[in-house]
Symmetry: C3
Subunit: 140 residues, 3 copies
Protein backbone atom coordinates (compact mmCIF):
# COMPACT_ATOMS: atom_id res chain seq x y z
CA UNK A 1 0.00 0.00 0.00
CA UNK A 2 1.15 3.48 -0.84
CA UNK A 3 -0.01 6.70 0.82
CA UNK A 4 0.46 10.30 -0.26
CA UNK A 5 -0.78 13.48 1.33
CA UNK A 6 -0.71 16.97 -0.12
CA UNK A 7 -2.21 20.33 0.78
CA UNK A 8 -3.14 22.87 -1.89
CA UNK A 9 -5.42 25.89 -2.34
CA UNK A 10 -8.55 26.31 -4.43
CA UNK A 11 -10.02 29.72 -5.03
CA UNK A 12 -13.57 30.26 -6.33
CA UNK A 13 -14.07 33.36 -8.48
CA UNK A 14 -17.32 34.12 -6.64
CA UNK A 15 -19.97 32.65 -4.32
CA UNK A 16 -21.63 29.53 -5.75
CA UNK A 17 -20.72 26.07 -6.99
CA UNK A 18 -17.63 25.61 -9.15
CA UNK A 19 -16.36 22.59 -11.08
CA UNK A 20 -12.84 21.82 -9.81
CA UNK A 21 -12.16 18.25 -11.00
CA UNK A 22 -9.30 19.26 -13.31
CA UNK A 23 -7.80 21.65 -10.78
CA UNK A 24 -7.76 18.87 -8.17
CA UNK A 25 -6.26 16.25 -10.49
CA UNK A 26 -3.55 18.69 -11.60
CA UNK A 27 -2.38 18.96 -7.97
CA UNK A 28 -2.05 15.18 -7.59
CA UNK A 29 0.45 13.64 -10.02
CA UNK A 30 0.64 10.58 -7.71
CA UNK A 31 -2.85 9.51 -8.83
CA UNK A 32 -1.48 8.16 -12.09
CA UNK A 33 0.58 5.57 -10.20
CA UNK A 34 -2.37 4.10 -8.27
CA UNK A 35 -4.05 1.12 -9.90
CA UNK A 36 -6.62 0.65 -7.14
CA UNK A 37 -7.35 2.90 -4.18
CA UNK A 38 -9.11 6.01 -2.91
CA UNK A 39 -8.63 9.77 -2.90
CA UNK A 40 -9.85 11.64 0.17
CA UNK A 41 -10.35 15.40 -0.14
CA UNK A 42 -10.93 17.58 2.91
CA UNK A 43 -11.67 21.32 2.94
CA UNK A 44 -10.29 23.02 6.05
CA UNK A 45 -13.09 25.60 6.34
CA UNK A 46 -16.61 25.80 7.76
CA UNK A 47 -18.19 28.10 5.19
CA UNK A 48 -17.39 26.12 2.04
CA UNK A 49 -18.05 22.55 0.94
CA UNK A 50 -17.08 19.76 -1.43
CA UNK A 51 -19.70 17.73 -3.28
CA UNK A 52 -20.08 15.69 -6.46
CA UNK A 53 -22.57 16.63 -9.14
CA UNK A 54 -23.24 17.09 -12.84
CA UNK A 55 -20.14 18.16 -14.76
CA UNK A 56 -21.60 19.39 -18.03
CA UNK A 57 -24.39 21.96 -17.82
CA UNK A 58 -23.47 25.05 -15.81
CA UNK A 59 -27.18 25.69 -15.14
CA UNK A 60 -27.04 22.81 -12.62
CA UNK A 61 -24.52 24.82 -10.60
CA UNK A 62 -26.76 27.88 -10.86
CA UNK A 63 -29.85 25.96 -9.78
CA UNK A 64 -27.93 24.44 -6.84
CA UNK A 65 -26.89 27.92 -5.67
CA UNK A 66 -30.45 29.22 -6.02
CA UNK A 67 -31.88 26.22 -4.14
CA UNK A 68 -29.51 26.52 -1.19
CA UNK A 69 -29.94 30.29 -1.00
CA UNK A 70 -33.73 29.96 -1.09
CA UNK A 71 -33.88 27.25 1.56
CA UNK A 72 -31.09 28.28 3.95
CA UNK A 73 -30.52 32.06 3.72
CA UNK A 74 -34.29 32.53 4.07
CA UNK A 75 -33.89 31.52 7.74
CA UNK A 76 -31.56 34.43 8.49
CA UNK A 77 -34.02 36.23 10.75
CA UNK A 78 -33.93 33.25 13.15
CA UNK A 79 -30.13 33.16 13.55
CA UNK A 80 -28.17 34.53 16.52
CA UNK A 81 -24.68 34.05 15.02
CA UNK A 82 -24.91 37.07 12.68
CA UNK A 83 -21.95 39.35 13.48
CA UNK A 84 -19.86 38.03 10.56
CA UNK A 85 -22.56 38.97 8.07
CA UNK A 86 -25.76 37.64 6.55
CA UNK A 87 -23.90 35.03 4.51
CA UNK A 88 -22.01 33.48 7.44
CA UNK A 89 -24.49 31.31 9.35
CA UNK A 90 -26.10 30.09 6.07
CA UNK A 91 -22.57 29.18 4.91
CA UNK A 92 -22.00 27.07 8.03
CA UNK A 93 -25.29 25.22 7.49
CA UNK A 94 -24.53 24.56 3.79
CA UNK A 95 -21.11 23.25 4.77
CA UNK A 96 -22.73 20.64 7.03
CA UNK A 97 -25.53 19.80 4.57
CA UNK A 98 -23.12 19.25 1.68
CA UNK A 99 -20.07 18.12 3.61
CA UNK A 100 -16.46 19.12 4.10
CA UNK A 101 -14.97 16.04 2.51
CA UNK A 102 -15.24 13.53 -0.33
CA UNK A 103 -13.83 10.08 -0.89
CA UNK A 104 -13.54 9.02 -4.53
CA UNK A 105 -12.30 5.64 -5.79
CA UNK A 106 -9.16 5.57 -7.93
CA UNK A 107 -8.87 2.92 -10.65
CA UNK A 108 -6.08 2.47 -13.21
CA UNK A 109 -4.48 5.80 -12.33
CA UNK A 110 -7.64 7.87 -12.65
CA UNK A 111 -10.58 9.00 -10.51
CA UNK A 112 -13.35 6.43 -11.05
CA UNK A 113 -16.01 9.11 -11.49
CA UNK A 114 -19.07 8.43 -13.61
CA UNK A 115 -19.30 10.05 -17.04
CA UNK A 116 -21.39 12.95 -15.74
CA UNK A 117 -19.74 13.40 -12.34
CA UNK A 118 -17.45 16.24 -11.37
CA UNK A 119 -16.08 17.63 -8.13
CA UNK A 120 -17.79 20.85 -7.01
CA UNK A 121 -16.29 23.42 -4.68
CA UNK A 122 -19.19 25.07 -2.87
CA UNK A 123 -18.15 28.61 -1.95
CA UNK A 124 -20.76 29.93 0.46
CA UNK A 125 -19.32 33.31 1.45
CA UNK A 126 -20.02 36.47 -0.56
CA UNK A 127 -16.32 37.38 -0.61
CA UNK A 128 -14.35 34.16 -1.27
CA UNK A 129 -10.78 33.63 -0.11
CA UNK A 130 -8.38 30.78 -0.80
CA UNK A 131 -9.65 27.42 0.44
CA UNK A 132 -7.11 24.97 1.78
CA UNK A 133 -7.63 21.34 0.70
CA UNK A 134 -5.87 18.31 2.20
CA UNK A 135 -5.73 15.38 -0.22
CA UNK A 136 -4.86 11.86 0.95
CA UNK A 137 -4.32 9.07 -1.57
CA UNK A 138 -4.18 5.44 -0.45
CA UNK A 139 -3.83 2.44 -2.70
CA UNK A 140 -1.61 0.09 -4.62
CA UNK B 1 -2.92 -4.24 4.49
CA UNK B 2 -5.16 -5.72 1.83
CA UNK B 3 -7.15 -3.81 -0.76
CA UNK B 4 -9.94 -4.99 -3.04
CA UNK B 5 -12.00 -3.07 -5.56
CA UNK B 6 -15.10 -4.24 -7.38
CA UNK B 7 -17.75 -2.62 -9.53
CA UNK B 8 -21.32 -3.91 -9.59
CA UNK B 9 -24.82 -2.71 -10.45
CA UNK B 10 -27.80 -2.00 -8.21
CA UNK B 11 -31.23 -1.49 -9.69
CA UNK B 12 -34.09 0.09 -7.73
CA UNK B 13 -37.58 -1.16 -8.62
CA UNK B 14 -38.87 2.43 -8.54
CA UNK B 15 -38.11 5.97 -7.38
CA UNK B 16 -37.54 6.21 -3.64
CA UNK B 17 -35.29 4.78 -0.93
CA UNK B 18 -34.42 1.08 -1.00
CA UNK B 19 -32.62 -1.11 1.53
CA UNK B 20 -29.62 -2.67 -0.23
CA UNK B 21 -27.39 -3.92 2.62
CA UNK B 22 -27.75 -7.59 1.68
CA UNK B 23 -27.35 -6.91 -2.04
CA UNK B 24 -24.10 -5.03 -1.35
CA UNK B 25 -22.66 -7.66 1.00
CA UNK B 26 -23.47 -10.41 -1.53
CA UNK B 27 -21.24 -8.69 -4.08
CA UNK B 28 -18.28 -8.54 -1.69
CA UNK B 29 -17.10 -11.99 -0.56
CA UNK B 30 -13.75 -10.41 0.39
CA UNK B 31 -15.39 -8.72 3.40
CA UNK B 32 -15.37 -11.98 5.35
CA UNK B 33 -11.56 -12.03 5.28
CA UNK B 34 -11.14 -8.54 6.79
CA UNK B 35 -10.77 -8.44 10.56
CA UNK B 36 -10.40 -4.65 10.75
CA UNK B 37 -10.86 -2.08 7.99
CA UNK B 38 -13.32 -0.03 5.95
CA UNK B 39 -15.66 -0.45 3.00
CA UNK B 40 -16.06 2.54 0.70
CA UNK B 41 -19.07 2.59 -1.62
CA UNK B 42 -19.37 5.10 -4.44
CA UNK B 43 -22.32 5.56 -6.81
CA UNK B 44 -21.21 6.75 -10.25
CA UNK B 45 -24.33 8.86 -10.92
CA UNK B 46 -25.60 12.35 -10.10
CA UNK B 47 -29.30 11.57 -9.71
CA UNK B 48 -29.08 8.83 -7.09
CA UNK B 49 -27.50 8.61 -3.65
CA UNK B 50 -26.25 6.31 -0.91
CA UNK B 51 -27.14 6.90 2.73
CA UNK B 52 -27.51 4.96 5.97
CA UNK B 53 -30.78 4.80 7.83
CA UNK B 54 -33.31 2.64 9.66
CA UNK B 55 -33.39 -0.95 8.39
CA UNK B 56 -36.61 -2.25 9.84
CA UNK B 57 -39.76 -0.22 9.21
CA UNK B 58 -40.40 0.49 5.53
CA UNK B 59 -42.46 3.55 6.50
CA UNK B 60 -39.15 5.32 7.25
CA UNK B 61 -38.20 4.93 3.57
CA UNK B 62 -41.63 6.26 2.56
CA UNK B 63 -41.38 9.24 4.89
CA UNK B 64 -37.86 10.01 3.60
CA UNK B 65 -39.12 10.00 0.01
CA UNK B 66 -42.07 12.24 0.96
CA UNK B 67 -39.82 14.66 2.85
CA UNK B 68 -37.31 15.07 0.03
CA UNK B 69 -40.04 15.40 -2.59
CA UNK B 70 -41.85 18.02 -0.49
CA UNK B 71 -38.75 20.07 0.22
CA UNK B 72 -36.82 19.79 -3.07
CA UNK B 73 -39.25 19.13 -5.94
CA UNK B 74 -41.36 22.02 -4.66
CA UNK B 75 -38.63 24.37 -5.97
CA UNK B 76 -39.05 23.19 -9.54
CA UNK B 77 -40.45 26.49 -10.78
CA UNK B 78 -37.15 28.20 -9.89
CA UNK B 79 -34.90 25.81 -11.84
CA UNK B 80 -33.34 26.50 -15.25
CA UNK B 81 -31.93 22.99 -15.82
CA UNK B 82 -35.31 21.41 -16.73
CA UNK B 83 -34.92 19.84 -20.17
CA UNK B 84 -34.37 16.33 -18.78
CA UNK B 85 -37.68 16.44 -16.91
CA UNK B 86 -39.18 17.65 -13.66
CA UNK B 87 -37.42 14.95 -11.65
CA UNK B 88 -33.90 15.73 -12.90
CA UNK B 89 -32.75 18.88 -11.10
CA UNK B 90 -34.38 17.73 -7.81
CA UNK B 91 -32.49 14.44 -8.26
CA UNK B 92 -29.17 16.32 -8.56
CA UNK B 93 -29.89 18.28 -5.38
CA UNK B 94 -30.89 15.15 -3.44
CA UNK B 95 -27.69 13.45 -4.60
CA UNK B 96 -25.62 16.27 -3.07
CA UNK B 97 -27.72 16.52 0.10
CA UNK B 98 -27.52 12.78 0.80
CA UNK B 99 -24.16 12.03 -0.80
CA UNK B 100 -22.73 9.80 -3.51
CA UNK B 101 -20.62 7.70 -1.19
CA UNK B 102 -20.43 5.95 2.16
CA UNK B 103 -17.58 4.63 4.26
CA UNK B 104 -18.51 1.87 6.72
CA UNK B 105 -16.16 0.19 9.19
CA UNK B 106 -15.53 -3.53 8.81
CA UNK B 107 -14.90 -5.61 11.95
CA UNK B 108 -14.40 -9.38 12.22
CA UNK B 109 -15.42 -9.96 8.60
CA UNK B 110 -18.67 -8.00 8.78
CA UNK B 111 -19.93 -4.45 8.31
CA UNK B 112 -19.87 -2.81 11.75
CA UNK B 113 -23.34 -1.32 11.30
CA UNK B 114 -25.52 -0.64 14.32
CA UNK B 115 -28.47 -2.94 14.98
CA UNK B 116 -30.93 -0.63 13.23
CA UNK B 117 -28.68 0.61 10.42
CA UNK B 118 -28.96 -0.39 6.78
CA UNK B 119 -27.59 0.91 3.50
CA UNK B 120 -30.15 2.83 1.44
CA UNK B 121 -29.98 3.36 -2.30
CA UNK B 122 -31.74 6.66 -3.02
CA UNK B 123 -33.17 6.47 -6.53
CA UNK B 124 -34.27 9.98 -7.43
CA UNK B 125 -35.35 9.58 -11.06
CA UNK B 126 -38.91 8.58 -12.00
CA UNK B 127 -37.63 5.91 -14.40
CA UNK B 128 -34.69 4.15 -12.70
CA UNK B 129 -31.87 2.47 -14.61
CA UNK B 130 -28.99 0.35 -13.36
CA UNK B 131 -26.71 2.21 -10.94
CA UNK B 132 -23.02 1.43 -11.04
CA UNK B 133 -21.33 1.12 -7.64
CA UNK B 134 -17.56 1.02 -7.03
CA UNK B 135 -16.67 -0.72 -3.77
CA UNK B 136 -13.20 -0.42 -2.24
CA UNK B 137 -12.25 -2.53 0.79
CA UNK B 138 -9.10 -1.75 2.78
CA UNK B 139 -7.97 -3.52 5.91
CA UNK B 140 -6.15 -6.38 7.50
CA UNK C 1 0.69 1.09 6.70
CA UNK C 2 -0.77 0.83 10.17
CA UNK C 3 -4.43 0.35 11.04
CA UNK C 4 -6.21 0.72 14.37
CA UNK C 5 -9.87 0.36 15.21
CA UNK C 6 -11.59 1.27 18.46
CA UNK C 7 -15.16 1.58 19.63
CA UNK C 8 -16.18 4.09 22.29
CA UNK C 9 -19.27 5.91 23.53
CA UNK C 10 -20.21 9.59 23.33
CA UNK C 11 -23.10 10.96 25.33
CA UNK C 12 -24.70 14.31 24.57
CA UNK C 13 -26.11 16.17 27.59
CA UNK C 14 -29.25 17.06 25.57
CA UNK C 15 -30.71 17.25 22.07
CA UNK C 16 -28.70 19.49 19.75
CA UNK C 17 -25.19 19.86 18.37
CA UNK C 18 -22.21 19.29 20.67
CA UNK C 19 -18.50 19.87 20.12
CA UNK C 20 -16.72 16.54 20.69
CA UNK C 21 -13.28 17.02 19.10
CA UNK C 22 -11.39 16.69 22.38
CA UNK C 23 -13.50 13.77 23.56
CA UNK C 24 -12.75 11.92 20.30
CA UNK C 25 -9.00 12.62 20.35
CA UNK C 26 -8.79 11.49 23.99
CA UNK C 27 -10.10 8.06 22.95
CA UNK C 28 -7.45 7.65 20.23
CA UNK C 29 -3.88 7.71 21.60
CA UNK C 30 -2.74 5.96 18.37
CA UNK C 31 -3.28 9.23 16.44
CA UNK C 32 -0.05 10.66 17.80
CA UNK C 33 1.96 7.94 16.04
CA UNK C 34 0.50 8.63 12.57
CA UNK C 35 2.51 11.04 10.44
CA UNK C 36 0.18 10.82 7.43
CA UNK C 37 -3.22 9.13 7.18
CA UNK C 38 -6.93 9.36 7.89
CA UNK C 39 -9.33 8.94 10.80
CA UNK C 40 -12.75 7.52 9.97
CA UNK C 41 -15.52 7.99 12.55
CA UNK C 42 -18.81 6.14 12.28
CA UNK C 43 -21.85 6.53 14.55
CA UNK C 44 -23.82 3.30 14.89
CA UNK C 45 -27.24 4.96 15.19
CA UNK C 46 -29.90 6.35 12.86
CA UNK C 47 -31.12 9.25 14.99
CA UNK C 48 -27.80 11.02 15.54
CA UNK C 49 -25.11 12.36 13.24
CA UNK C 50 -21.50 13.47 12.93
CA UNK C 51 -20.57 16.66 11.12
CA UNK C 52 -17.81 19.26 11.07
CA UNK C 53 -18.49 22.90 11.82
CA UNK C 54 -17.41 26.03 13.66
CA UNK C 55 -15.61 25.26 16.93
CA UNK C 56 -15.67 28.60 18.70
CA UNK C 57 -19.03 30.31 19.04
CA UNK C 58 -21.70 28.15 20.67
CA UNK C 59 -24.41 30.20 18.95
CA UNK C 60 -23.52 28.36 15.72
CA UNK C 61 -24.58 25.10 17.40
CA UNK C 62 -27.79 26.77 18.59
CA UNK C 63 -28.56 28.17 15.15
CA UNK C 64 -27.90 24.76 13.55
CA UNK C 65 -30.36 23.11 15.96
CA UNK C 66 -32.97 25.80 15.27
CA UNK C 67 -32.51 25.50 11.50
CA UNK C 68 -32.89 21.71 11.41
CA UNK C 69 -35.86 21.78 13.79
CA UNK C 70 -37.57 24.47 11.72
CA UNK C 71 -37.01 22.74 8.40
CA UNK C 72 -37.43 19.06 9.32
CA UNK C 73 -39.68 18.76 12.38
CA UNK C 74 -42.15 21.09 10.68
CA UNK C 75 -42.98 18.18 8.33
CA UNK C 76 -44.17 15.97 11.18
CA UNK C 77 -47.81 15.99 10.09
CA UNK C 78 -46.80 14.26 6.82
CA UNK C 79 -44.94 11.35 8.46
CA UNK C 80 -46.29 7.82 8.93
CA UNK C 81 -43.42 6.50 11.08
CA UNK C 82 -44.53 8.27 14.28
CA UNK C 83 -44.97 5.60 16.95
CA UNK C 84 -41.56 6.30 18.51
CA UNK C 85 -42.46 9.93 19.09
CA UNK C 86 -42.46 13.28 17.31
CA UNK C 87 -38.67 13.53 17.40
CA UNK C 88 -37.98 10.14 15.78
CA UNK C 89 -38.66 10.53 12.06
CA UNK C 90 -37.09 14.04 12.02
CA UNK C 91 -34.04 12.47 13.71
CA UNK C 92 -33.75 9.86 10.93
CA UNK C 93 -33.90 12.58 8.26
CA UNK C 94 -31.29 14.73 10.02
CA UNK C 95 -29.03 11.69 10.30
CA UNK C 96 -29.12 11.24 6.51
CA UNK C 97 -28.81 14.97 5.75
CA UNK C 98 -25.79 15.40 8.01
CA UNK C 99 -24.31 11.93 7.74
CA UNK C 100 -23.38 9.07 10.03
CA UNK C 101 -19.67 9.26 9.38
CA UNK C 102 -16.68 11.55 8.88
CA UNK C 103 -13.23 11.06 7.41
CA UNK C 104 -10.59 13.52 8.62
CA UNK C 105 -6.96 13.65 7.47
CA UNK C 106 -4.24 13.04 10.06
CA UNK C 107 -0.92 14.86 9.67
CA UNK C 108 2.06 14.79 12.02
CA UNK C 109 0.14 12.96 14.73
CA UNK C 110 -2.82 15.34 14.78
CA UNK C 111 -6.17 15.79 13.07
CA UNK C 112 -5.55 18.17 10.14
CA UNK C 113 -8.63 20.25 10.93
CA UNK C 114 -8.74 23.92 9.98
CA UNK C 115 -8.37 26.51 12.73
CA UNK C 116 -12.13 26.95 13.10
CA UNK C 117 -13.20 23.35 12.55
CA UNK C 118 -14.46 21.00 15.22
CA UNK C 119 -16.28 17.66 15.27
CA UNK C 120 -19.97 17.96 16.14
CA UNK C 121 -22.10 15.19 17.55
CA UNK C 122 -25.65 15.83 16.36
CA UNK C 123 -28.03 14.37 18.93
CA UNK C 124 -31.49 14.41 17.37
CA UNK C 125 -33.58 12.61 20.00
CA UNK C 126 -35.21 14.48 22.88
CA UNK C 127 -33.90 11.94 25.40
CA UNK C 128 -30.29 11.12 24.41
CA UNK C 129 -28.61 7.84 25.23
CA UNK C 130 -25.01 6.73 24.76
CA UNK C 131 -23.90 6.79 21.12
CA UNK C 132 -21.48 4.14 19.98
CA UNK C 133 -18.69 5.36 17.68
CA UNK C 134 -16.34 3.14 15.67
CA UNK C 135 -13.04 4.86 14.86
CA UNK C 136 -10.67 3.49 12.21
CA UNK C 137 -7.21 5.01 11.78
CA UNK C 138 -5.11 4.19 8.70
CA UNK C 139 -1.73 5.64 7.87
CA UNK C 140 2.01 5.55 8.28
Amino acid sequence: MQIYQREFTLRAPKRGFHLVTDAVVRELPELSGISMGTLHLFIRHTSASLTINENCDSSVRGDMERYFTDTVDSHNSTFIHTYEGDDDMPAHIKSSLLGASLTIPVTDGRLALGTWQGIYLGEHRDRPGGRSIVATIMGV
